[in-house]
Amino acid sequence: MGVISAIGNSVAENHQSLKNATCGVSKEFDLFPTKYAGLLPFGQVPISTEDLQKQLLVNDPGVTRTTLLALHALNEAIADCGISAEEIQSFDTALIGANTVGGMCLTDELYNDANEKTDGSDYLASYDCASVNLYLQKHFKIKGIINTINTACSSSANAIMYGAMLMKNGYAKRAIVGGTDCLAKFTINGFNALHILSSDNCTPFDEGRKGLNLGEGAAFLILEKEEDIKGRKVYAELTGYSNANDAYHPSSLSDEGDGPFLSMQGALKVANLTADKIDFINAHGTGTENNDEVESKAMIRLFDKPPAFASTKGNIGHTLGASGAIEAVYSILSLIHQEVYANLHFKNTIPSTGLTPVQSYTKMPVNHIMSNSFGFGGNCSSLIFSKV
């Protein structure tokens, strides 16, 4: 596994920050000029794009921050897993990545190139989301199946699912899966126009929640089939996954929460588990009025008495296309260390649901953990990771 976020540049740093209930979201922001700098809190990865380039020894022109974050996380995952260059380059190693921002972080360059105000910048091939994985393909010389998925905020959960499907169907022996997204003026203004950005730190599942905070980061995981592990360390088993659509509204969830309910239910079915076997839910919990109430209701509908749950959006913000992968890493940390992390900034339960998330770092037995990701376009996905 590899991860980079507002609370750490590695799995170890993220783990320590989660244990310490560190909040990486603040109004200190210096990535690019925006009217909202200092006004809205963001979960910024505290490394400049230039420093990322230097650290990663990237000299090619046209490489975006989205791609650099991905490369950072993937380097860590590869080193952690110990797979060889030969294995990465074999025809049966797939790379499935997700992102929603792509090169949209390059506001000025894109504006000028798209409106014919230049002779062309270095970034002409970097704007679309596929450019991240095309860069990683070239960098690591990957020959297996490569794909980019965009289901908005559930993108990287679907990347994990697609990687698992490729292996199950014999199209890959090994799948490198994950997601990345960086903060961009584009998404800041977009979510702001929808009036779902909180001017304070987000408070998932709290009665007085005022919206989400945007964050950035990346995570990659390397999946292998049980028979191909060859003595490598194994952190967890991906036992369940499911994707369903809420079919209600382009940018909000239905009151009944059919999409979240169906994705959670579908993941249980694939894992062949009954609801009572889930020990913990890593909730999508963005801190918006709509998401947290609907997700809670869907959990009550499926579980009757939902298990312990929490959202890490208070730690790192909503990392959009990266969130499913980053939170997969966090879920797996819970399984490895038999512990769960605090849902930050919570005060009062939502009256209509009466649900209280985990509020402090807690040691507890965790055998099966469910991780939710829901996105625009009604795209809901749930994953289940199990202890090995």
């Binding site: 925006t34 009217k35 909202y36 929603t100 506001t107 894109l110 504006y111 190139d113 798209a114 409106n115 014919e116 230049t118 002779d119 062309g120 002409l124 679309d128 989301c129 596929a130 095309l134 393909q137 990957i142 020959k143 199946i145 490569i146 794909n147 980019t148 998925i149 965009n150 289901t151 908005a152 697609y162 499907m165 199950k168 169907n169 199209y171 003026k185 584009f186 203004n189 977009g190 979510f191 702001n192 126009a193 929808l194 994707n243 369903a244 659509n245 809420d246 079919a247 209600y248 509204h249 382009p250 940018s251 059919d258 999409g259 169906l262 996105g375 625009f376 376009g377 009604g378 795209n379």
Partner: protein
Amino acid sequence: MLYIHKTYCISAQQDLLQANIELINEAVDKKLLAIEPSYEKIPPGILRRMGKSIRMGVGAALPLISETDNIDGIIMGSANAGMDDCVKFLNQMVQYEEGQLTPGSFVQSTGNVIAGQLGLITKNKGYNITHIHLGLAFENALLDAMMQLNTNQSNTYLVGGVDEISPFHYNIETLAGSYKKEDISNKYLYETDSPGCVVGEGAAMFVVNAEAASSIAKVAAISTIHSTDIELLKQQLNLFLQKNIPAGENVDLFLSGENGDNRTLPYYTACETLLADDTAVVRYKHMVGDYATVSAPGLWYACEFLQQPVPEHMFKKKTSKTEYRNILLYNNFKGLQHSFILVSNL
């Protein structure tokens, strides 16, 4: 494998199998713009707010969904759906200096907007996903459908590929040198020896399941690779043929994605050298142009050629065969993303 039961295609040609090259639609300003239907199935209030790719995608899918009993999931491939709205929102943001912006374009700017809208309009709560991997976005959608059907054998899925010539995307690709600089007619696309293609757009949709009965075609196999190495590509094609063409059979028709770009032509000719003497070679991009998800109309053509004759002007090489059992599609996007799709009759 999967079986195709219904198809719908929107492209630059009203008559996609126009037999007379003199009657095929010509590119306007070197753009093969889609001939759009009247979209009777899209509610007018929603239609007005839709960008072109969303309109084409939803408009091509709805007729198929409405005549199919039950669609269990929607699987889309689109490299740049939402791109136009994305730059519209960006322009608004720059012009109003991040002032009070309307979120309409932002919500429609996400790549998953077509599948999302289809889920919403048809109240489809099943599997819903969008593959956006540029020149292999549609291929991954098709592969996804195969895998879903392998697990859920009684299901039926809608699979499609959609992309538009958005003005902003066109500007970026023009700066990147993707299109022909000289004035040429798409009718004589293959007579050019210069870099660049003629851009196209469109939407092709397929209703697929695991049932052979009453189907139009079988998608027997797909293979994709990223490489600029012609030798590696040839190796991949040989492996693909060995693995997937039944003993005693051959590729009867090679549906080539040749696009008039002299930078990618060597890949297409390299593939042709590996095929048998009696393999017909057929081209289609003078009809629909070239774009990231052009394999979707390519697959539509393959389905047609299992049922009816190939127009003369589409042949690069004609053979004595008039009926085809195995059709191999090969597409190459920007010299890097390659796909082979084997389509056969049952």
